[in-house]
Symmetry: D2
């Protein structure tokens, strides 16, 4: 397979959660060409290839397939110009801004490699291509859609995520490796009216602003400094005209945490602030809170993680093993492991130009110079990223596939 | 003319600023039928009828024609279901939520009445139908488009606005009668990134929230309590997703005031806060401020106002003369008077059901029960509102047209 | 009487509310010397002189006597260096920073003048020297202490306040002339602890800061722009050390308004905000609110005010009649009139150097150059202020004392 | 020595930083009685005893001596009723609320024990009793006062702090064990005036409130969630009366962090916010910032820490070794090690009743039931705390004193 060509094609044709039809078609075709048993349509667009190769453990390798509503600004020759129409008929630009195109490509490459070396191992390989990681919780939807009735239950779940560390590096963090995330859409209810008569209204913009300022104190004052929590109000929308006071404001909030106690404490604080600030405004009714994505902490099994990191050190050299620490991003890959009762190892795969990283570190400009996931400028270096990702999947899988 | 039919037809077919083509067509047709000299296309859709009736002063009567992007919820049989497509192809609902349909109807009725009674007065009547009062400053645009080179320069400018006072009442406030308004769109610049890594970003939602909270202090602390000023952040928009920190936030702000010193002080305070809050966030660049509508204080000439109110008292009875006080709404009718060097009298015309007002005042529920201008429920009672509005224009005009 | 000497002596020896013993002694001595019937000890330090001079109306002239805890910085030769010990034994500096020394002096002068011209009028003069206007509500305390059982009930209550208008000017505002004031001390309850472990505390400084910011919105959003209201958090105290989180914060709040509906609306808003912000913090108990001074609106009887202003115009010339408008300061003199069922006229007496005012107005520096009441720099020009104040009291009283 | 009696006496007689005269006298007397070479008056009240016992390494054991301005509420029979007069003559209550009395007692006990077992070890013991740990940076002041010219330069610096962990437990955290602290007093400049005329003022209470709210965002938005930082505004003072707007507000701020990069980032953010919020208010001049205590990160040498913890495990059993983690409290003991170029091991000594801790943990009420350092209820159990502390110092010292 010309993996770089696969990657460039995927990158140029991003698709949103649960609509990864073109992507799933390509994946299914390639798996079929390689002779795997192919399951499609799990959770709408999920695809799973099974390669049975004698006795031995079952290893699940996972890639996620969905893209983001971001207008690409990478300037790549293969940059996306795709859009999709939203409910109102607006054109929404699309981009593989989180690198799932790399994940798919590497997993296809790993399947090809393991298929080509069937003589060297035995066991069962499950190559799972999941929809809707960004939005929709595709992992759990696949489980709920009967995943483990259709394919063998794995003994270990493995996967990777490309990140802006130097390309060529790879490694997993034992224990709580990625954050729990809880997202919500909050509607604050005021009372609308003309901007010249605020006294007849209950101003939702002020209510929202006070809420945002107060929410900062949940992290700054209510969580132990040694603990990790994030409360982000990512979106805030109210009103249509500068001289009309709207009737409501909508806040899109995401909360991240690394253990259940902190998680509950933050969520409780967020909820308390939202309700009290509504009361401080004399709101006509309590705010509405609608939960969105809620992902658990991604916990890497320590023993399995040590095993995988050791295999990486053997394959790439100890200097190439990343120690990413606990990341505040979130993932739903853990749901695949939890449902199987299997250990998880989910590692980070460097994708940034090592030279650029080095220069930025020297200049102290990493944060401004190195685009991160979800940035319109996020553009992992195709190589050695893809090679490394393929080899990482293979050597990790081979730890179990003796 | 069947004025109620005219009103219902106009109400059912609202049009936005500078696109009042259907409305202008109807107006021009009626004026032509009545035999007036008709000027169309002034400021795109403005229409002016001139009725020369011998020597004497020139009186300009003004009505405004544009509607609002509001989804009507009045339940009227003639409610608007019209929409217009915005730049992104979305359907924007339209409504005469400010009562300009009443203004047009009354002015057509007044022209008909004055035309039918030409034997009783002499002078020149200028019936001006202005586009774009809500948005776009149509009055000044008409002046700039050569209005007073095309039609006689008036000795007095008269006009009216329907408001939720009891129908049948009418009256003007001498001096500063309506507020100056200054509107602006402010873009606050942050730095976007993933919601889990706030430290790599400059969060525009927090910047906007702090700005909104701080803007409250301009009115609460910087303006003398006896002075009148309003700072409304009518719209606030930032971000698209709960877990992505956006790069910017946009605030739509309107400022109202009743004298120039206060106006300058408030605007200076607003500007200072916006800049400083941006600095407090460490913004990568200063905020952008784009001015929108900027209308001056609407100043009724005291002597002329006394004259008009006296004429109303004679016509309708002293009990029917409104004392609206200074209103915090804004108008651009003053630009027509200023450009002519003529005095202005701009009065308020009651449009609410007197019984409903009485009951609401008794129950202390005026603010919740009586829909105000710009509300989706704003529905002036056609009668006696239209009759009163026609007679008010006629008797006021006749004060000058001897 | 050498009124300037009296004034300089009073100025040099300020006393706080209800401790005006020296001042009261001087006043009582002078009234006794003039032969009046003198009542002392009403409301601890109140003094009233009664001068019965035949049939006719009873006129009450009122002066207030207390000073403020301000460290004088006027540089006057007769500046105060007095202090008083507080509960903790600290020395509190004292100053007649509100000009009550001028009020006393002028009233003594007016009594002397009216006493010396007894042949020209008849009726009863009540010269009332009230304690505790700044703090303690001395007027009502005098009423409650049996004032009108001890001295004749007046037919009119008259009084004056020195203000930083040009000396030589004097005049009253009809109707609501001075604001209602409601003051309160609020204790917000948090939970203390070490500054390094905020998560074990409920931070009262953050609670107080959020409360202060939210309180701004009561004026900016909940009161009609045409109405007048002030919410000032004059004092805010929490904590003793930068690294210890305190258990509580104390806010000293004053609210001013000019009519009862607005007053209730503001107080309700203030209360709502304080409670809700406490809840937003998860406070262990609701805030405590202790009312302090609560003075009603000072309402000048319109007809009586017109009469007094006319008398001022006759005495001083029309150019010397002030039109102070409604002032946002507060007074308890109204309680003396209300308890008597009598009309009130309370006027403003200019005390600033006219030249300085003129220069400051020309330079636009009035606010920075002209010290106002309560400023450590407030120093009314002794003359012509005292002369004008004496004559104003006499001519106003003589309007009733025919 | 009757160590409990020593402790009760010290507890009953607390002294503030650099005024520990009585305490220093007791310490010097005991050291002299034990035959040590005693140096007094280093940094005013510092005392150092030197015990030379043949060849071998020099070990510095450190205790701090100062107490806090806290009104004791422990109800102990030996509770402090001491006070000290402040600059204004007020009585300030004093309490050993941080447990330094325990530290002194244990170190005296350890010196006695090591002195009594001189035959078992050789080397030099330096017993250092430092003034002013809470306030004044006594460690560096001792260094600057020629400490290491007067006493031998140590090969290792050891010390301990009593904390509300179960008594009988003891242990050190390797690496960054306690936070850096930077404290500052900030004066925000407004413009004072009467509370009824906010427009003539620049309200420092509002300025301070906005600053406090904005400071929350430094931790919540500018520091990586995985990093540890605390910004506490421990004190906030402005104004004296509810109706007078003050001219300034004073904020006492402490900042904690665990590495230099985060420290600089937080301090930079705090500074930026303070300046910008001052500008947002239109302050007449920039805020004044006066630095207070600034202590570096307390870094325990990892190898030495492992050695000490192992010695503790041998002495007390592995179950009795605390793993306190990095604590957000701060210390200046590190300055003694840095100046000597020696490794530091600073451990935590449990002082709470184990039963109470167990019950509180079971009930989830640790935070409310177990008083922490600086609380007026902080009362370490004398035993086994003192015994454990003595033995811990001895066994740790003996690791070097072979």
């Amino acid at each position: 397979m010309d993996l770089e060509a696969v990657y460039r094609d995927l990158h140029a044709h991003p698709e949103l959660a649960f609509t990864e039809h073109r992507t799933a078609g390509i994946v299914a075709d390639r798996l079929t060409e390689l002779g795997l048993e192919v399951h499609t349509g799990i959770a709408t667009t999920g695809v799973v290839g099974v390669l049975r190769n004698g006795d031995g453990p079952t290893v699940l390798l996972r890639a996620d397939m969905d893209a983001l509503p971001v207008r690409e600004q990478t300037g790549l020759a293969w940059a996306s110009t795709e859009t999709v129409s939203d409910d109102d008929g607006n054109a929404v630009p699309l981009m593989h801004a989180c690198g799932h195109d790399i994940h798919i490509t590497c997993l296809l490459g790993a399947v090809e490699a393991l298929n080509g070396s069937r003589g060297e191992w035995s066991g069962t390989l499950v190559a799972l291509f999941q929809p809707a990681e960004e939005h929709g919780g595709g992992a759990q939807v696949m489980v709920d859609d009967g995943l483990y009735e259709k394919v063998p239950v794995p003994d270990v779940v493995l996967g990777q995520h490309v990140v802006p560390y130097p390309a060529g590096m790879v490694g997993a963090h034992p224990g709580a490796a990625m954050a729990a995330v809880d997202t919500m859409e909050v509607t604050l209810h005021g009372r609308g009216g003309h901007g010249s008569r605020p006294e007849t209204t209950i101003d939702p913009v002020v209510m929202a602003a006070a809420t945002v300022m107060r929410l900062q104190t949940v992290v700054s004052r209510e969580i132990a400094p040694q603990e990790t929590a994030v409360v982000t109000v990512g979106s805030l929308h109210a009103g249509t005209k500068n001289n009309i006071i709207a009737a409501e404001a909508r806040l899109g909030i995401s909360v991240r945490s690394f253990n259940e106690e902190v998680r509950q404490r933050v969520l409780s604080g967020v909820n308390r602030v939202i309700e009290a600030e509504s009361q401080a405004s004399g709101a006509p009714k309590a705010p509405d809170l609608e939960w969105g994505e809620r992902y658990p902490v991604t916990v890497n099994d320590p023993a399995s993680t040590e095993r995988v990191n050791a295999a990486f050190a053997a394959e790439f050299g100890a200097d190439s093993v990343l120690h990413p620490g606990a990341l505040s991003g979130s993932e739903d890959v853990g749901n695949l492991a939890t449902a199987a009762g299997a250990p998880l190892v989910y590692w980070m795969l460097g994708g940034a130009d090592p030279e650029t990283v080095r220069a930025a570190m020297a200049a102290g400009t990493v944060e401004t110079d190195i685009p991160t996931n979800h940035s319109p400028f996020f553009a992992p270096l195709p190589q050695p990223t893809i090679d490394t990702g393929v080899r990482a999947l293979v050597v990790a899988a081979r730890e179990w596939l003796a």
